[in-house]
């Protein structure tokens, strides 16, 4: 394994940890807003790390560019959908969790 491979592996594992944490949060957090918070961390940072790890292995700049584009699209869609879900929940009168 070369240095690039180690870097890739580190980024992929870090991304996987973010996804694991996000999934745990989705399962364990008390209400829809905190769950969204956990989920968007996995989608945004976790996917970003995985895309970074994969683009080090990409055979050409075009492939790396496509990976970057996928990440940006998921960022856009994820953030917007999280906002819409939260807005919908607020409109339905789901109260924000308090300790």
């Amino acid at each position: 394994m070369t240095l690039i491979d180690y870097l890739s592996a580190a980024l992929l594992i870090a991304g996987a940890i973010f996804f694991l944490a996000g999934t745990l949060g989705l399962l364990r957090f008390p209400d829809v807003y905190t769950r969204l918070h956990a989920l968007t961390k996995a989608d945004n940072v976790g996917l970003g790390l995985i895309m970074a790890g994969l683009s080090f292995q990409a055979e050409s700049w075009a492939v790396a560019g496509k990976l970057l584009l996928i990440w940006l699209l998921v960022l856009l869609a994820g953030a917007s959908v999280a906002h819409l879900v939260a807005r919908g929940a607020l409109k339905r009168g789901i109260r924000i969790w308090k300790r």
Partner: protein, 321 residues
Amino acid sequence: MEALTLLEWGFDGLLGLGLLWLAWRALTCPELFKAIVLFIAFGLLMALAWVRLDAPDVALAEAAIGAGLTGALLLAAFAKLSLVTGHEELKPARSEKNRIRFQHYWMPATTLLLVTAGLFYVILSLPPYAAGLSVEVASNLDTSGVSNPVTAVLLNFRGYDTLLEMVVLLLALLGVWSLGDTTIHREAAPGLVLDTLARVLVPLLILVAAYLLWVGAHAPGGAFQAGAVLGAAGVLLLLSSWRPHADLIAWPLRLMLVLGPAIFVIMAVLLYLTKGQLLEFPPAQAGILILILEAVATVSIGITLAALFLGGRPRRGKGQA
């Protein structure tokens, strides 16, 4: 190498079990909304399973149509259903009368068992490895006009399959339309975020659809995948309360809906008259003919899927003349 194979077995095993579990949950879940979400999750895992089976074309179609658009259609139907019944949570009535009795399910259970046994027999009697028709497809690929074997089969060797699939989609839409009308009118403002999202994504989705259509000639992609992406753009527009102009919903919409199947049929008739065979493309012009067919098919499929999401025959609203 050993560890990697083990990892792959583990992953595939989990995937298969997960699929079975999700399918069971989606079927037995008493809450409709939960069942729909489970069905969408099932579609996404199914797409992953197709990727593992080295069938990226099917995976694309499954993710876009099976999980994405069918999910959107089911959710739209659910929203209408809860509007009609006034219940947020739709649960089946659990009374003595509605409980499924043994007599009610021994017939389907027996049929299911017989079908399963038959399928097992067929699978077990298959030779462990067979090339199937892939050798013949590969040897005739030069005359098909494209270099992606899947597109060659779908549009050239078995073009009538694709034609009939498009007719099925059109019939589905006609079925929905015959159930009732939907008034075309602008609903409440969608909010800044959804509006911006639609404005950014819709041009991009159209670009992706064009790319999928073009790339289908030599790599996974093609009319159905491109049409599904176009349909998704339409669904996003409809969700952000865009509505087609009243003048467009009369004959322009209907023309776009039948354009794909119509061009297909016209081409089949012309080829029959000149070559004596339905949909037998001359090898020299096959590439361009397939591209034309796929282009019109993409537009028709996309608009049909978006029109299905509208959930009724569009009709002019009262405010519009």
